[in-house]
Symmetry: C2
Subunit: 301 residues, 2 copies
C-alpha cells in the first residue's frame, strides 16, 4: 500500500474548532505520513534567537485530515508507528510569563538552548539525552468551543503527553463528521510535566494509520492512549486536581463497564494499580492521565 | 550484626512535632526491623466494618527512633531493605468526605473491600494484584509546626509515595537532634494518586538501615528518594501545582549544584528527562515528585 503524505505546506491549523475544513480526506485503514514543523515555526536557529513572550501562533498542527465514515459518537483510532526527526537540532526555550518556575528567583526568561542530534541522542552540555520523540499537539475538531493549539481539552490539542509516541495508539472522540485530525508540536525529548514550557522542539515526519471505531460502548468523552502495557485516560482542566478527577472518573467508568462492576468497586481498584500521571503543568489548561495496566483493563474501546 | 526490633507496642505517634520523644536511640549504621500496625489500627476485619468518617487517629507511626549524632542541617538516610506483610489480608476502603471522587454520582462511601493475600498477590474479585508494599507514612520531627500523621509536609509524614518501597533509599532533612524517625500506614499495593483515599492497608515488618549524612551541600529542605534508576524530590502543598513547583525547584537546584550550572539551565534539563509524578491527591496536603534519572544526577547527597 502506498503511504500518503500530508505536509504542513498543505495546511496547518492554529485552532481546533467545530467547523474545521479538511485538507485531505482518507479512507479508514489509510497509512499516512504527516510532516510537522517545529512548534516555533522554524524561527529559532541560534541561541541568540529568543522568544520574549508566547507568539500569537504556535504549535502549527498539520491537517485537518478527515476520515471517511467517522461520525459523532465514533472514536478515531490513530496508531503512531514511527516519528522521524527531520532536522539536526532541537531547541528548548524559556519564555517570559510561561513555565512552572516562571518568576522564581534565578530563572531567566527568555533563554534558548540548541540541542544537536547525533546518534539518536541530543547534546545538552556534556550530557547525552536519548531521542524519544513525542507528539505535543494532536487532536480533532471540537464539539462546540474553539481552542487554540496552545490549549488542550476534550478534543486533544496541546496535550504534551509523553505517551503520544511511536508504538502507542491514540483514541479521540469524534465530535464532527470525519473527525478532522491535526497534529504537530513534536519534541525530540520531553519530561513529564514539560516544566520550562518546552521540550526539545523539532520538525518531524510521523507515520500513522487511521481507523474508525464505530460507536463503542461506553463511548469516549476525552482522549485515551494505549501503550505497550497500559490504557491511559487523559484529561485537561483548570487545575491538576480537576484533571486528575476527570481522568480517574473516566478510568473508573471504563473498568466498571469491562468488568460489570459498580463505579465504587472500579474506583477502589483504580486506587491499587497503575495510577495518576502528569502530562503537562504549563499550558493554559493542565493535563493529567490515569494509567490502568492491561492486566486489569483489556479492551476499553 | 543483630537486627534490633522496634514495634508499635513500644510506641507510636499520631503527630509529627518539633519535640518528639524517642522510644529508641540507635547508632548510625544500625539495622532495624520496625513493626507497623495497619493505618486503621486493626479495626477492619470484615467487609461489614466500615469507616464513616476519618477517625481522629489514623496512620499510627511506629517510633520515634533517634539516631545518635544527627543534628539539624544533616540528612537522615533510610535504606528500605524489605517490607514483609504480617497479616493475611489487606483492606481498601472509601470513607465519607474523603477521596478524589468523593461526592461524585455513583461513588458509595463508606465501603470496605477485603483483599486476601496468597502467593504474593492480592485477590480483588477474580483479579490478582501483585503485592508491592509501600510505606505510606514516614517522616521525622518537624522544624516548627505540628502535623498529624494524616498530613504530609517537609518532614515527610503521610507522603503516600509508591517509591517508599524495598530497594529505595529515603532521605529526610534533620530538623531536630536525633532526627526522630517514625513510620507506618503501609499498603500491600497502592496506585500513584491513592485516589479512593487508601491502598490495600496492612500491617508489616520493615527492615531498614539508618545512617546520617553530615551537613551535605546543598542541604535538603524536603524529602528525597533514591530508586534503582532515579533521584526523586518530593514536595507536599495545598495544590498539586504548588507541590510540582516545589519538587521541580528542588530538583533544579540539585542539578545545578552537581553540574555547576545556573538554575535556568538546570530547569531546562529538568523539562527534557524524567519528570513530574503524582504521589497522592487525597490528603489535606497533596504530594508530587520530580524524578531525575541517575544518568543526569549521580550523587545529590
Amino acid at each position: 500500500m502506498v503511504r500518503e503524505q500530508v505536509t504542513y505546506e498543505d495546511g496547518v491549523v492554529y485552532e481546533f474548532t467545530p467547523d474545521l475544513e479538511a485538507i485531505a480526506t482518507v479512507e479508514p485503514g489509510t497509512k499516512l505520513t504527516i510532516e510537522t514543523q517545529d512548534s516555533l515555526n522554524g524561527t529559532i536557529h541560534t541561541e541568540a534567537d529568543v522568544i520574549e513572550s508566547i507568539p500569537s501562533q504556535v504549535n502549527a498542527a498539520t491537517g485537518p485530515i478527515a476520515v471517511e465514515g467517522a461520525e459523532p459518537g465514533d472514536v478515531l483510532r490513530v496508531e503512531i508507528e514511527e516519528i522521524r526527526l527531520t532536522e539536526e537540532q532541537g531547541r528548548v526555550v524559556t519564555i517570559g510569563g510561561f513555565g512552572l518556575l516562571d518568576g522564581d528567583g534565578g530563572i531567566e526568561a527568555p533563554r534558548t538552548r540548541l540541542l544537536s542530534v547525533e546518534d539518536d541522542a541530543l547534546a545538552f552540555g556534556d550530557l547525552d539525552i536519548p531521542v524519544e520523540p513525542v507528539i505535543g499537539t494532536i487532536g480533532v475538531a471540537t464539539e462546540a468551543d474553539a481552542y487554540t493549539t496552545l490549549v488542550p481539552h476534550d478534543h486533544g490539542g496541546n496535550l504534551d503527553t509523553t505517551d503520544m509516541t511511536a508504538g502507542s495508539v491514540a483514541y479521540f472522540p469524534v465530535f464532527q463528521e470525519g473527525g478532522l485530525l491535526a497534529m504537530g508540536d513534536c519534541k525530540a525529548a520531553m519530561a513529564d510535566g514539560e516544566m520550562c514550557g518546552t521540550g526539545a522542539e523539532i520538525a518531524t515526519e510521523i507515520d500513522v494509520t487511521l481507523e474508525v471505531v464505530s460507536a463503542p460502548e461506553p463511548g469516549l468523552e476525552r482522549p485515551l492512549v494505549e501503550t505497550a502495557d497500559a490504557w491511559k485516560t487523559i484529561a485537561s482542566a483548570e487545575t491538576l486536581q480537576e484533571a486528575c478527577r476527570l481522568a480517574n472518573r473516566d478510568a473508573s467508568e471504563l473498568l466498571a463497564a469491562e468488568h460489570g462492576w459498580d463505579l465504587t468497586d472500579a474506583y477502589m481498584l483504580s486506587s491499587l494499580v497503575g495510577g495518576l500521571e502528569i502530562s503537562q503543568v504549563v499550558d493554559p489548561l493542565v493535563t493529567a492521565r490515569n494509567a490502568v495496566p492491561k492486566a486489569y483493563l483489556e479492551e476499553p474501546v
